[in-house]
């Protein structure tokens, strides 16, 4: 007598929902099974956890010189690669904006952008360290490559969303191509360029903490060495410093972007 009700399935066929769940769970199960965990090693490590913690606490901030030079190098790498990345990224962004260039050029621009973003910074760093040697220069170049691609991608998206109205209005006054660029496009894009650059700097500050692992300079190298020498109290100090710089960087970046927009 009482009517029943069932929630309509979001799938085109009712069997698809359970099937998707089963597949997903099976995939996860396969992940767990094939993780290759050595329980004995894990047990030993967990047993040693107390010792490791005891050696790490309190953190050792006494080697200020090493920490300071690492931090400064990280900031330099982040800043230089951002400046270079932005300068080189602007033309790439124009080439990767669908509403500015012809389709074949756009395809090429998008290709460069996609490839540059796909490889992890660390892999890029390895290749660049081979090319220019150890040190912060390798770090700057690595992050610049990444910056060109990711900055160009973000900026291209911004260019694609600019308002056509003002451009049309300025073109209607009979202005030249250059004038249209200066009065119609630039005012719309410039604040976004500045905002994106600051954001990039913030991202690079994070990345500059790891590329030292493969010898590309920055605080990461100091940290890696501390781990390698079982200097856990020094390592903890560096970790705290990294969290602090990233936080400060994020704060500076947020404040600067708020001021620009």
């Amino acid at each position: 007598m009482a009517r029943a009700w069932q929630r309509p399935s979001p799938w085109p066929h009712p069997w698809m929902g359970p099937a998707a769940w089963t597949l997903g769970l099976a995939f996860l199960a396969w992940n767990v099974v094939s993780l290759d965990v050595d329980p004995a090693r894990v047990a030993r490590g967990l047993g040693r956890l107390g010792t490791v913690l005891a050696r790490a606490v309190p953190p050792d901030f006494s080697r200020t010189g090493l920490i300071a030079s690492g931090v400064i190098e990280s900031i330099e790498i982040a800043t230089l690669s951002t400046v270079l990345g932005v300068l080189l990224g602007i033309p790439v962004a124009v080439l990767a904006a669908r509403n500015v260039v012809a389709l074949p050029v756009y395809a090429g621009g998008r290709g460069v952008v996609t490839l540059g973003r796909t490889l992890h910074e660390l892999i890029l760093a390895i290749i660049i360290v081979k090319a220019v040697g150890f040190g912060p220069l390798a770090g700057v170049l690595t992050l610049t490559v990444g910056a060109v691609a990711s900055f160009a991608k973000l900026l291209a998206e911004q260019i694609e969303t600019i308002d056509r109205g003002p451009i049309e209005a300025i073109r209607a006054t009979g202005a030249s191509r250059g004038a249209v660029l200066i009065y119609g496009v630039l005012p719309q894009v410039l604040p976004r360029i500045i905002g994106l650059s600051i954001y990039q700097w913030d991202v690079h500050l994070r990345h500059s903490t790891i590329i030292g692992i493969v010898g590309a300079g920055g605080i990461g190298a100091t940290l890696y060495n501390a781990f390698a020498r079982y200097d856990y109290d020094f390592a903890l100090a560096i970790l705290i410093i990294i969290v602090a710089i990233v936080l400060v960087g994020e704060g500076v970046s947020a404040a600067a972007r708020a001021k620009v927009q």
Binding site: F27, L28, W30, N31, V32, S34, L35, D36, V37, D38, R41, V42, R44, G45, L46, R48, L49, V52, I72, E76, I77, T79, L80, V83, T114, L115, T118, L119, H120, L122, I123, I126, I127, I128, K130, A131, V132, G133, G135, P136, L137, V140, L141, R206, H207, T209, I210, I213, V214, G217, G220, L223, Y224, F227, Y232, L239, I242, V243, V246, L247
Partner: protein
């Protein structure tokens, strides 16, 4: 008014003071950049040599050693395992943190502050650095990698989940509360339907980022294809390095495409 030559008004976009400020800001940036360039110590002869070096390297990497592809299957599977399990673990752990870290669902100030600290620490430390930490605890291998991926992702997910929770429409929750439903029932009917698409989208997005992160974990000994890459580099097997890089490119691009497709489906 009669003397037009003198009386013609001058218009400037910026006042002289503003112009000075803009110019000095730009000048300061240029000076800082120059100082940093000098301090970093660019060795120009190395830089000049770089294109030749890269060319040489590419020459050794290409053509890639296709025969080695078979040995990449296992490390590749491991890379995907690490990313997927790490993401899954992080999703489970970040859900309660997100509810604590959202202003409209947090149970109290202490919980809010704690959740925010967890988010900040998790996010500020790169996956690779987390890997270094976990290697100390559980030893080298994919478990350390999985834990590192999870640890880094918790902050990312919890932060974006919390933003999703803060954006919900209060009215829908109020209406369910007004029916006399319990706290948990209100969560299920008033909040979950609103945040579900955001949660799914963000999780899938993080999975795709984690695939990329997992490709390098092996460089510090935390499992996956990076391990094989490291071996090949140390053994100067450049043709293998070339192949591995190509495979990594393909996997990352593929996961990005899958992620984009899946995200379009859920929102």
């Amino acid at each position: 008014m009669g003397d037009t030559a003198v009386g013609a008004r001058v218009w400037r976009r910026y006042s002289p003071a503003q112009t000075a400020a803009r110019w000095s800001a730009e000048l300061a940036l240029a000076v800082v950049t120059a100082l940093m360039l000098w301090h970093v110590g660019v060795r120009w002869e190395y830089l000049a040599d770089a294109p030749a070096q890269v060319g040489d390297l590419l020459g050794r990497m290409l053509p890639p050693e296709w025969a080695f592809a078979g040995s990449l299957l296992h490390p590749l599977a491991q890379t995907i395992n690490i990313a997927t399990l790490g993401t899954a673990g992080a999703i489970v752990l970040s859900l309660p943190i997100a509810f604590f870290a959202a202003l409209n669902t947090t149970p109290g100030r202490v919980a809010y502050a704690l959740a925010r600290v967890v988010i900040v620490v998790s996010r500020s430390v790169d996956t690779l650095i987390w890997a270094l930490v976990f290697i100390i605890v559980v030893g080298p291998g994919s478990l350390a990698g999985t834990l590192a991926v999870a640890m880094r992702s918790i902050g990312f997910l919890a932060k974006l989940f919390a933003e999703g929770i803060e954006e919900i429409d209060r009215g829908q929750v109020e209406a369910v509360t007004a029916t006399g439903a319990s706290r948990l029932a209100t969560l299920l009917y008033g909040i979950v339907p609103q945040v579900k698409p955001v949660f799914l989208g963000v999780s899938i997005y993080r999975w795709d980022i984690n695939i990329r992160e997992s490709t390098v974990l092996g460089l510090v000994g935390a499992g996956g294809i990076g391990f094989t890459l490291n071996d090949a580099i140390l053994g100067l097997e450049w043709a293998r390095v070339g192949l591995i890089i190509l495979v990594v490119l393909a996997v990352v691009l593929l996961s990005e495409a899958v992620s984009a497709l899946a995200r379009r489906r859920v929102t």
